[in-house]
């Protein structure tokens, strides 16, 4: 069961600010998601290797070559979506 305290913690980890109202709404929703996953816990997985990846592939590499497979962006392109920038840097609020 997720309590309000857990939700506050999860929100903090994701740097989200939740109102009292949001909390009321999300707590039962998250609990129903967890309940659903709880059903999976009932499957007997004794002796089954955990699946980390669904693809039956290993060892995919790229060579150490500049601009391969894709080219770098220009500084202008890189910053084109930034809400705030300064002297070629991205600008963000200071983190505590």
């Amino acid at each position: 069961m997720i309590a309000k305290k857990d939700l506050e913690h999860i929100a903090w980890l994701s740097r989200l600010e939740l109102s009292e109202e949001d909390m009321e709404k999300y707590t039962p929703r998250l609990n129903s998601v967890l309940d659903y996953f709880g059903e999976l816990d009932e499957v007997d997985t004794e002796g089954v290797e955990p699946t980390y990846h669904v693809l039956p592939i290993n060892n995919v590499f790229r060579e150490d070559e500049i601009n391969a497979p894709a080219k770098s962006l220009t500084q202008e392109e890189a910053l084109s979506n930034a809400p705030k920038k300064q002297d070629g840097f991205f600008k963000a609020p200071r983190m505590m």
Binding site: D64, I66, R94
Partner: protein, 478 residues
Amino acid sequence: MYENPDGVMIGLEVHVQLNKLKTKVFCGCTTDYHNDPPNSHVCPVCLGLPGALPVINKKAVEAAIKVGLALNCKVEEHTQFYRKNYYYPDLPKGFQITQYDFPISSGGYIVIEGEDGEHRVGITRAHMEEDPGRLVHEGTIDKSKYTLIDYNRSGMALLEVVSDPDMRSPKEARRYLDKLRNILEYLDVFDGNLEGALRVDANISIMGGQRAEIKNISSHKGAERALLYEIVRQKNVLRRGGVVVLETRHFDEAREITLSMRSKEEAHDYRYFPEPDLVPLKISGWAPAIKETLPELPDARRMRFVEQYGIKDDQAKSLTGELVWANYFEDFLKAYKDEYKEKLDPKLAVAWIEVLKGELNYRDLTVDAFKKEDMLSILELLVSKKITEDGAVDIIRTLLDKGGSPDEIVAEKGLLKVEGDIVSTAVEEAIKENPQAVADYKAGKEKALNSLVGAVMKKTKGRADARAAREVLLGKLG
């Protein structure tokens, strides 16, 4: 046997940038960004743009295996990547791609010179990860309102080398870092002179208490100072009857103190999960072939230097402690033989390389500041007894401070050794002109001899060998 009176236990996590690669670990952006404007070597992958997919650099994997083998680690059968989730502006995706329970190599060791002789420090594991971006704060970190971010560094290949808590003093920690750096340089995977090439987090506890993790150490000297400070701090806490708590502390390099970070920051809750965009690696089969390519490492080279050249162990240690000087020494011997068709005594070579090193260090210069040909000429002049040792030092200093060539300096300063009869004439004159000193010496004042030697040196304008002058004087006074 080292007693370790405070029960100090230190473990280090060293982040090594594999900066000799051409490109970053998961994209084709160049690693050569150090002199370029911010955000000029970035792409959708290292900017964490939606939909961008990482593909791992094969050379980075090879380099990681190389380091693992050099640190006596086992290369793991199965290795894979995880997402380590946290929000910080230096991490554009909101997670760092790193390794967790399947690191590429583990279970090795490094031998260092410990408090009581050779000491083995265990390597828990060496795992691969990506470097975050670089943050720039306007003004000081606690006063600025904004953070500026440069993602040129984002996605550089890092290897995190985690040691066991086997170091028992800050000095051992420094030696461990020196040794690790030394090995990395020999492996040619790392240029330690580049900014941000090596960063250290240290874990330290005393008297079996809780450990503090110290972040933000950027040099081996910084590590030693941060640890010394931390031992004093923890001892003070205990003396006041307090308890050392498990916490993360930040090293303030300017003030040389460690500061507690907010406790909320320490709620490590990274929610690791397997990185779905990178498939696992099964590369332990590469290890034997890569092992074949490993170069001679510092310890082996040091032993060979002692055996092959007959130099002292501490000289061999000092030479092999820096790859550039180990190579210089061997190249120098070879170059001398090529140039003068005669073998140079390695003991003489190492003694003069140490002089050169000292003069360069004093001026904060590197080996490139002194032409190897000049050093060869100077050694030849010494071997053929054309100049004195003082003269050789004079030439080295003059070359560094004013430039020129050894021959010019010899001619200008009249440094060629003078003939024996000139010395003996000078000695005779000195005895005649300084009767008081002679009388003093004969009366048993040993020091009076020095002023006579000084007089001889003055008459020969310093070209006489002081030791020879002294002998001639003793002979005549005797």
